[in-house]
């Protein structure tokens, strides 16, 4: 487990600051509470997909139409989406921020979850720049990801290295009642 808490509302605030219009996603265990926070944010439209490989092409269509989408899928889903990443993001130079659930990440390097051990080597191999976010203290990396994507016309990953906190937890922590 990672020490530190990542509150979904704070991530949503980052998305709003970046003018994100659509959140294309297939929910996973790490990001479940993010879904609830997004449903409470009227300026962002959630687009649920049936399989992770759909997320990048849907985002590409949205971007072509003038919108500002992000995607959110799990690391295992990113591997499933490999050809979409190749053809419709890296291949066409799509400036897209991809939130990737870092399932199995524990910072110890001996995780039994191959979905975690493969993620960073995968991103390096595919030449995808990335930032790891493990808690609220790391959220200043989110605007860096948007800036990198816009400057390079390439997809950039934000690897979410912990489970999003439940909103009730967020209230307790931020309210100092814990």
């Amino acid at each position: 487990m990672i020490n530190g808490i990542l509150h979904p509302k704070n991530v949503v605030d980052q998305l709003v600051q970046q003018g994100v219009s659509h959140y294309v996603t297939l929910p996973d265990s790490e990001t479940a509470h993010m879904y609830e926070a997004l449903m409470a944010e009227p300026s962002i439209t959630v687009v649920p997909v049936s399989r992770e490989g759909e997320a990048i092409p849907v985002a590409a269509g949205l971007f072509i139409a003038g919108q500002n989408p992000v995607i959110s899928i799990q690391n295992a889903g990113l591997y499933e989406a490999g050809d979409s990443l190749r053809g419709l993001a890296l291949g066409v130079g799509l400036p897209l921020v991809m939130f990737i659930g870092y399932r199995g990440h524990n910072r110890k390097g001996d995780t039994p979850d191959s979905a975690a051990t493969i993620l960073e080597p995968f991103l390096h191999l595919w030449r995808v720049d990335y930032f790891v976010v493990e808690s609220d203290e790391d959220l200043d990396r989110v605007p860096l990801a948007f800036d990198r994507a816009a400057r390079t016309n390439q997809p950039v990953a934000v690897a979410i290295g912990t489970e999003y906190a439940k909103e009730e937890t967020a209230e307790i922590v931020t309210g100092g009642a814990g």
Binding site: G53, E54, P57, G61, I64, L88, G91, G93
Partner: protein, 202 residues
């Protein structure tokens, strides 16, 4: 049986100012008849994902009709997109599926289940309407009404197979076409020329 050429001709006659997203064999015929090439993109380097790109366009520009010219082999590979499209239910989405039961681009091998009825599948997923045509007269007469009604609608066309005899020509120039088309369409739809070069082809 309907030909690709006739299908594309009657589709173009009814398209109006719809954007089009094509893939596979029909792209060649569509390019010969299209009267709005600035509003056409071909997903030539994104295996099976025409329907997903078209969904993004439909959601991003809800005032404009989107015509996706898909094929059955591609749709089988991205079958979940039927449910995704039905779930978002964009009224401006029209999903044409060319069905001849073979992989034409790779020489004519049969798809795993040549008897799949895509109109029925779309209807079961929740498309607002779904239609199946096997003669050009019926397609020609029905299209204006279908395209004037809210979608998502699926239009399955039983076409004569045209197995390609030679492999697909891959060059740096041919692969640069898709990123150029995507940028041209964004410029046309948004009025902004703000998507600079990126990736290996531009």
């Amino acid at each position: 049986m309907i030909t690709y050429a006739d299908s594309c001709r009657v589709l173009n006659e009814s398209r109006g100012d719809a954007v089009s997203v094509t893939t596979m064999t029909q792209t060649r015929y569509w390019n010969q008849v299209s009267t709005e090439p600035d509003l056409d993109i071909s997903i030539s380097n994104g295996m099976s994902k025409a329907s997903s790109v078209a969904l993004g366009l439909a959601l991003g520009d809800p005032q404009r009709r989107v015509l996706c010219l898909d094929s059955e082999g591609s749709l089988l590979m991205n079958f979940g997109s039927l449910a995704t499209i039905a779930g978002m239910a964009p009224e401006n989405f029209y999903h044409v599926v060319f069905n001849n039961g073979i992989y034409g681009i790779t020489g004519g091998q049969p798809v795993p289940a040549p008897g799949v009825e895509y109109a029925k599948a779309a209807e079961a997923c929740g498309y607002v309407s779904a239609h199946r045509f096997s003669d050009i007269e019926s397609l020609d007469s029905a299209l204006p009404e279908i395209l004037s009604q809210p979608g998502p609608a699926l239009i399955e066309i039983i076409v004569k197979g045209e197995p390609q005899k030679e492999g697909v020509d891959q060059t740096w120039e041919s692969n640069a076409m898709m990123p150029k088309q995507l940028r041209a369409m964004r410029k046309r739809l948004t009025g902004k020329d703000d998507w600079g070069p990126g990736g290996p082809y531009l």
